[in-house]
């Protein structure tokens, strides 16, 4: 076995271990909530509901989906995108349009699950909506990416920031576009159909099934992310990320390769948007702001740009801290020490501090990709090489 084959084999084994770990955690959480917790005493139930509620865990899966989508753009292709929330919004509105009574001028039921008495509107099956959500956002990725991806670094970041602001604003003010109510403006679109999968309706209180559904979505995204990275396209993305000029000289079509990363990365946002809309039963324009884009970016950077499992860990940690961690840890500290700190209000201070510390001491993230770690530690390597050379010279 050559060194290269051995390295590929090691990566494959490592991915397999992580995949088993992810599936095990999902499976254990599901079984725990279906069989153990309903029969546990109140104290245990309360603890899990406070610290690891299924709602929060399902939300974490959505964040993982989003972060993995952005990881394709930022982590793989090295394109800084500050407006990823736009894809979340687009995916959410696809669910709003195709799974609710909102477009009441139509009455379409295509393997959908409209509630009794609310048959007006468009009611597509959840699988179809997930596919259409991904396709729709990919198209928007192409539309946005087309004119912008010839830009580089700061300029690209600013343009994506612009799109990230424009699309949510459109959603917020889209209740009267040439006389058409497209988004219902600030009121949002509520009353989404309950998802029906192979004849089984996931009801309002069927949280384990909801969790399993979004976990499968996140699992699929993990699978495709890994497969893409290992494929020809993924290697082209990584080559562009490392050195655009060198990649170009080696025959990598720059624009087309960047373009594909933007379109494929957008799919994660779209599917996640559909999943999130289903989880909360609607889509509301208030959610889609710049802060969300930054949080997703922070998940990618802190987890380890380019490394799927690092991004999964980064998204899990930050999403948990954001949803329940700060509140619960704060309560625990306040109850223990009799203090009255409002920990959630220090969220951005803590996030900022964490980012600063990470940039100072572990720039490559929690679980960096090996290649990224080498790039981030290039200076140290150069120093080592220099010392070695000096030593060599001195030894002569």
């Amino acid at each position: 076995m050559t060194k290269l084959q051995a390295a590929h084999h090691a990566v494959g084994v490592n991915n397999k271990k992580w995949a088993i770990g992810f599936s095990t955690v999902v499976g254990v959480i599901f079984l725990l909530n279906v069989f153990v917790l309903p029969n546990a005493n109140t104290q245990v139930q309360r603890f899990f509901n406070a610290w690891f509620s299924l709602n929060s865990l399902a939300e974490i899966m959505i964040w993982i989906l989003m972060a993995l989508g952005l990881n394709i753009i930022v982590g793989y292709a090295g394109l800084l995108d500050l407006g990823y929330v736009a894809f979340w919004a687009l995916g959410g509105y696809v669910a709003g349009w195709l799974m609710s009574p909102f477009l009441s001028q139509f009455q379409v039921d295509f393997f959908g699950n409209p509630r009794p008495g609310l048959e007006q509107g468009i009611h597509f099956n959840v699988f179809i909506v997930l596919i259409l959500g991904g396709v729709f956002t990919a198209i928007w990725g192409i539309i946005i990416g087309g004119p912008t991806l010839r830009l580089k670094s700061d300029y690209l970041a600013l343009v994506t920031l612009g799109f990230g602001e424009i699309i949510p604003q459109f959603m917020l003010n889209g209740s009267d576009i040439g006389g058409l109510n497209i988004t219902n403006g600030a009121q949002g679109i509520g009353g989404l159909d309950q998802p029906k999968i192979f004849g089984y309706t996931i009801g309002t209180f069927d949280l384990p099934a909801k969790f399993l559904m979004v976990s499968l979505m996140a699992g699929a995204m993990i699978f495709f992310s890994i497969r893409l990275r290992d494929g020809r396209l993924g290697r082209a993305w990584l080559a562009i990320r490392e050195d655009e000029l060198a990649a170009s000289m080696m025959g990598v079509p720059l624009w087309r390769t960047k373009f594909s990363s933007y379109a494929i990365g957008a799919v994660g946002g779209g599917i996640g948007g559909v999943g999130f809309a289903i989880l909360i039963g609607g889509v509301y324009a208030d959610r889609f702001n710049f802060v969300i884009s930054i949080i997703i970016l922070a998940m990618v950077v802190l987890g380890g740009m380019g490394n799927v499992w690092g991004v999964v860990v980064g998204a899990t940690v930050l999403a948990w801290v954001n949803a329940v961690g700060l509140v619960q840890v704060g309560e625990l500290i306040n109850n223990t020490f009799g203090t009255k700190f409002n920990f959630p209000s220090y969220q951005f201070l803590l996030f900022g501090l964490l980012l600063v510390l990470m940039m100072l001491f572990r720039r490559e993230g929690f679980l960096p990709e090996a290649r990224m770690r080498m790039v981030m530690n290039e200076e140290k390597l150069e120093d080592v090489e220099k010392v070695t050379d000096d030593t060599k010279i001195g030894s002569h």
């Binding site: 109140t42 309360r46 509107g121 219902n184 009121q187 208030d286 700060l326 209000s345």
Partner: protein, 417 residues
């Protein structure tokens, strides 16, 4: 290399160990032991509405305290839920969805007091509805929550087919009706220039004004105003002047280019002594508007009783405000906070009239004798009964105000049936 399976196993073991050791929840357990019924308040505790929510929770706590912690034969406790996140600094859809499930999962919880934002209510109502859990809001003014409005509303919030949601504040439709009645009946105006800001709130309000003014026999000249900051609207006013309008109504929010709008109106039609104008509570509370000489004499409505009105009204409501100040050292943050107390009073009446179960509490509001609060017992000084078909109050007190000397001065209360 870190072994993910080990990490998962360690995390689970740690979680279980923490659960076993956790004793902090013991006090709450006794409250949830079947003796004490829980009322959950669901408000945005972080961000711009934090002060208003803090004050609302304090008012709710004081209402319960003054009742000796009991509603009828049942001991009642309050559990505060936060539907906001620090990241957004406002209500958050995911937090609302989680709270909805938590309300239902807390088996001793028999009612929800809230929410503050109608958007959050849209997420919580359907979940609570399927669980047969009563929800009473003190601040949701979006009409579609209780009456036909947008497509599918309000049915899409009530999947069980039965109602579970009520509110003690007037929805935007009431405010429009009150304004139309005042302009037609009391100011004697017959041709209304009705301008809306083309936003959801403004359009809804304008629809209500137009319907009532037309019903009364008046003529409505309706158009939208340009909300881009600094945009000139003089042509709109020139047009309505030519059509014989004798009053202007601004259906919308002052933030939407209100400064220029009011200036343009004065420039074309004259000040409010010559050509009167009226605005909803979307124009209330803006220091910029108060400082504008063009705003002098502007008629305004507020959906409910203002804090000033409650204090001046005397009696038990004013005494309640005094008790609040004595306990906390400051006034309630807003009128909405006081209406939180009214919502709590409704819930406590429902609990007192029930068998202590969720179904019983819900039935006490939506079947049998309607829940009513007299003006003397309501902490807002506003008497009403809840309509069992819609969950809205049957009588709404609006406060009529006029801008005098740079102050929104209460003129009187207007009752709308």
């Amino acid at each position: 290399m870190i072994k993910p399976i080990k990490i998962g196993a360690l995390a689970l073991a740690g979680a279980l160990a923490l659960a076993a050791c956790s004793g902090g929840e013991e006090a709450s357990d006794s409250a949830a032991g079947g003796e004490v019924l829980i009322v959950g308040t669901d408000l945005p505790i972080q961000g711009a509405s934090a002060d208003a929510s803090k004050s609302t929770n304090e008012v709710v706590a004081l209402v319960l305290e003054q009742a000796g912690g009991k509603a009828g034969d049942y001991s009642v406790a309050i559990k505060e839920y936060d539907n906001s996140t620090a990241a957004k600094g406002a209500w958050d859809d995911a937090a609302c969805a989680k709270n909805a499930q938590d309300h239902v999962a807390n088996t001793n919880e028999v009612a929800i007091m809230g929410t503050y934002n109608s958007g959050c209510a849209k997420i919580i109502i359907p979940v609570a509805n399927e669980a047969g859990l009563l929800m009473v809001s003190h601040a949701n003014t979006y009409p579609g929550l209780t009456i036909e409005w947008d497509a599918g509303e309000p049915a899409l919030y009530y999947p069980s087919g039965a109602r579970n949601y009520a509110r003690v504040i007037a929805h935007d439709g009431f405010q429009g009706t009150a304004a139309a009645q005042y302009m037609y009946n009391e100011l004697g105006k017959r041709t209304l220039a009705l301008l809306d800001d083309t936003q959801a709130y403004g359009i809804g309000l304008a629809d209500a004004v137009e319907a009532e003014f037309t019903k009364l026999g008046g003529t409505v000249l309706r158009s939208g105003w340009d909300i881009k900051a600094g945009s000139i609207n003089t042509s709109t006013f020139e047009k309505v002047k030519g059509q014989g309008a004798d009053i202007v109504y601004y259906a919308g929010i002052f933030d939407n280019n209100g400064v220029q709008l009011v200036k343009d109106k004065t420039a074309v039609l004259g000040d409010n002594t010559v050509f009167p104008s009226m605005a909803p509570d979307g124009f209330s509370g803006y220091p910029t508007l108060r400082e504008m000489p063009e705003a002098e004499g502007l008629w305004m409505t507020f959906a409910g009783k203002s804090l000033d009105g409650i204090k001046k009204g005397g009696g038990a409501p004013a005494a309640f405000i005094d008790a609040y100040i004595a306990k906390y050292g400051y006034e309630p943050n807003s009128s909405y906070a006081v209406y939180g107390g009214v919502a709590m009073q409704v819930i406590m009446k429902a609990i007192a009239a029930s068998d202590g179960t969720r179904a019983g509490v819900l039935a006490a509001v939506f079947s049998g004798e309607p829940i009513c609060l007299s003006a003397e017992e309501s902490v807002s000084g506003m008497g009403f009964c809840l309509n069992q078909e819609t969950g809205d109050v049957d009588t709404v007190t609006m406060t009529l105000q006029q801008m005098t000397g740079g102050v929104e001065t209460d003129i009187r209360a207007i009752e709308v049936k």
